[in-house]
C-alpha cells in the first residue's frame, strides 16, 4: 500500500515538470529574441549599416511568435509544439545573435570589414541573391556530373575487382599506388590536359568520389559471407544472379560508406577547382568576395554552402535508409 502511495506522489509532479519546462524555455527564447529586436532598433549603430530596422522587425516577430507559442500552450497546435521543442536551440541562437549584434554594429568591438553584423549578411541575401543563386546552380551542376560519374565508375570497378581475380590482379597495385594521392594534386595536370576547365573539374570531382567508392565496394564484395553463395548456388543461381542478387546487395552497406566518403571528398575538390579554374560556383564566389573585401558576402556564401552540403548528406542518408531498410540500428542523420 505505502509503495503505491509513494509512487503516486512522485509521478504526478514529474509529469507536470515535463509538461511545463518547454513552455518556460519557449518563453525565455521569446524574451531573448525580443531583447535582440530592442537592441537592434533602440541602440544607434556605431557605423553605417543597412537593414538594421528590418533585422529588428524580423527578430521581434520571432520573439512574439515564441511568446505566443509558449503562453498559448497546447492550444496553439503542432507547429507551436515543434517550435517549443527547438526552444533551447533558439535560446542559444538568440543569445549568440545578441552578442554578435552588440559586438559589431553597436559597439565595433570586432575589427570592421572582417566581422560584419548579422544584418549585413542578411543584406547580401536580399541584394545579391541572383549572383548567389547562379553560383549555387553552377556548383550543383559541376558536383552532380562529377559525383555521379565517379560513383558509377567506382561502383562498377569495385564490383569487378571484388568479383574477378584477374581484374583484381591488375587493379590492386594501381589503386594502392595512385589511390591515396589527393585528387587536388591532379589539378594542374587536369587543367592542362582537359579542353575546358569545366571538364577538368568534373574529372577531379569524379576522381575524388571514385576512389573511396571503388575501395569500399571492393572490400564489401570481397567480404560477402561465402555461405550466401553456397545457398544461392544450390538453388540454381547463375553467375549473373550471384553478382546482381547476392554480392551487390550484401555489399551495399559498404558501398554507402564509400559514397559518403566520396561526397565529403568531392565537396573539397569542388571548392578548390572553382577557386583555381572555373570562374563560377560557390568556391569562385568565396574568392571573388575576398578579393573585393566583401566579407559579408563571404559569410553568406559559407552559410549557403553549409546548407547545401548538409542537405546533400541528408539526401544520401535518406536514400541509404530507404535502400537498406532491412538493416536494423541505422545511424540517424
Amino acid at each position: 500500500m505505502s509503495t503505491i502511495a509513494l509512487q503516486n506522489e512522485t509521478t504526478a509532479p514529474a509529469e507536470d515538470r515535463i509538461r511545463w519546462r518547454p513552455i518556460y524555455a519557449a518563453l525565455l527564447a521569446g524574451g531573448i529574441w525580443l531583447a535582440l529586436s530592442a537592441l537592434a532598433a533602440r541602440l544607434p549603430d556605431a557605423a553605417e549599416f543597412g537593414y538594421t530596422n528590418e533585422f529588428a522587425i524580423v527578430a521581434g516577430l520571432i520573439g512574439v511568435a515564441l511568446a505566443i507559442g509558449s503562453i498559448g500552450g497546447d492550444r496553439t497546435g503542432p507547429l507551436a509544439a515543434r517550435l517549443r521543442s527547438w526552444s533551447p536551440w533558439l535560446i542559444l541562437l538568440g543569445s549568440f545573435l545578441f552578442v554578435w549584434e552588440l559586438a559589431t554594429a553597436k559597439r565595433l568591438w570586432l575589427p570592421m570589414p572582417f566581422f560584419p553584423p548579422p544584418q549585413a549578411i542578411a543584406e547580401v541575401f536580399v541584394d545579391d541573391y541572383a549572383r548567389l543563386f547562379d553560383s549555387v546552380w553552377h556548383s550543383a551542376f559541376l558536383l552532380a556530373g562529377g559525383y555521379l560519374i565517379g560513383a558509377a565508375v567506382g561502383f562498377v570497378s569495385g564490383v569487378a575487382i571484388g568479383w574477378s581475380k584477374a581484374v583484381g590482379y591488375w587493379a590492386h597495385p594501381i589503386l594502392r599506388f595512385i589511390g591515396p594521392l589527393p585528387a587536388t594534386a591532379w589539378l594542374p595536370l587536369a587543367f592542362f590536359i582537359f579542353p575546358t576547365s569545366w571538364s577538368a573539374s568534373t574529372f577531379l570531382v569524379a576522381l575524388a568520389t571514385g576512389f573511396p567508392v571503388t575501395v569500399l565496394t571492393w572490400s564489401g564484395i570481397a567480404g560477402v559471407n561465402k555461405a550466401y553463395y553456397d545457398v544461392a548456388r544450390t538453388l540454381g543461381a547463375s553467375n549473373r544472379f550471384l553478382i546482381l542478387k547476392v554480392a551487390i546487395p550484401a555489399a551495399l552497406p559498404h558501398v554507402f560508406v564509400g559514397l559518403f566518403m566520396g561526397l565529403g571528398g568531392s565537396f573539397a575538390v569542388l571548392v578548390v577547382a572553382e577557386m583555381l579554374g572555373v570562374k563560377s560556383g560557390l568556391g569562385w564566389y568565396l574568392q571573388w568576395a575576398q578579393g573585393w573585401a566583401a566579407y559579408a558576402n563571404m559569410y553568406a556564401a559559407l552559410l549557403v554552402m553549409a546548407i547545401a552540403c548538409s542537405g546533400l548528406i541528408t539526401l544520401l542518408f535518406r536514400i541509404r535508409d530507404w535502400l537498406l531498410s532491412w538493416q536494423k540500428g541505422l545511424v540517424q542523420w
Partner: protein, 272 residues
Amino acid sequence: MVSVVATHGSASRAEAPPLGGAASPALDLSGVSQAFALDGRPLPVLEDVSLSAAPGEFVALLGPSGCGKSTLLRLVAGLDLPVAGDVLVRGKAVTGPDPSRILVFQDPTLFPWRTVFDNVALGLEAQGRLRRDRGQVDEALALVGLGEFAGAYPHQLSGGMAQRVSLARALVNDPDLLLLDEPLGKLDSLTRIAMQAELVKLWQESGFTALLVTHDVEEALILAQRVIVFSDRPARIQAEIRNDLPYPRHRDHPRIVELRREVLTLLGLGES
C-alpha cells in the same frame, strides 16, 4: 558393421523400396574420402564412405559432432568435390550444385536484405520461374506456419522461425533429393514434433529422397527408414539400422524405444 533390421509385418510402408533393387539408385557414394588442410596439415574428415539410397528412401545420418556429416552433405549437394571416390546421383557423377538436389544448411543463412517471402522465392527466381510458380511460395510458407510473416525481414524472426524459413526455401523447389542438415535443430520440442510430422507427410506426398543429418536419435528413428551411424572423425560407417515401422510413428512405440537404446550404445552412450 552391425546391421539391425526392424520389420513390422504387413503394416510395412507399401512403397518402401527394396534395398539395392533399383537400376540406378537416387544416391550412390562409393569409397568417398574428403580431407581439409588445418594448420598446414591434412585433416582427414571422411574415409572410404560407401552408401546408397533408393529413390524415395528416407535415410538419416547420425554421428558425433565434427565427424564429417555436413561435409558429406556438401559433397552430395555438389558444393565441394571429394579427394577420392565417386558421388553419383541417379547414376550421374555430381560435378556441381543443381536445384534438383537442395541442401537445407545447418545454419539458416537467410539473406537479410530480402523479406521472408523473397527468401523463400529465391530458388524460383534464380531458375526464372517465379512468375509462374508464385503460389508455391505462399504454400511453402503456410506449410512451415509462417504465412503471416511473408513481409518480415530475417532480423525480425526468432532462431526457430528462421530455420523454418530455410526449410520452406528448400521445399518450394520440389527437389528430387532433399539434403537436410539438422533442419529442426533450433526448434522447441513442440514445434519440432509438429514439423517432423509435416516432413513425413510431405515426403510421403512428394516422393523425394531424403538424407537427414541429425543429433537427435529419436528424430532419426521417427523419420527415417534407415539410420546410418558414423564413427568419430574421420567418419566411417559404423552401423546401419533399418526401421520398417509404418508411419506415423510414435516415440513411445516399444520398437523405437529398443532401437533408441541400441543406437545410443553404438554412439557410446549406452547407460545414460
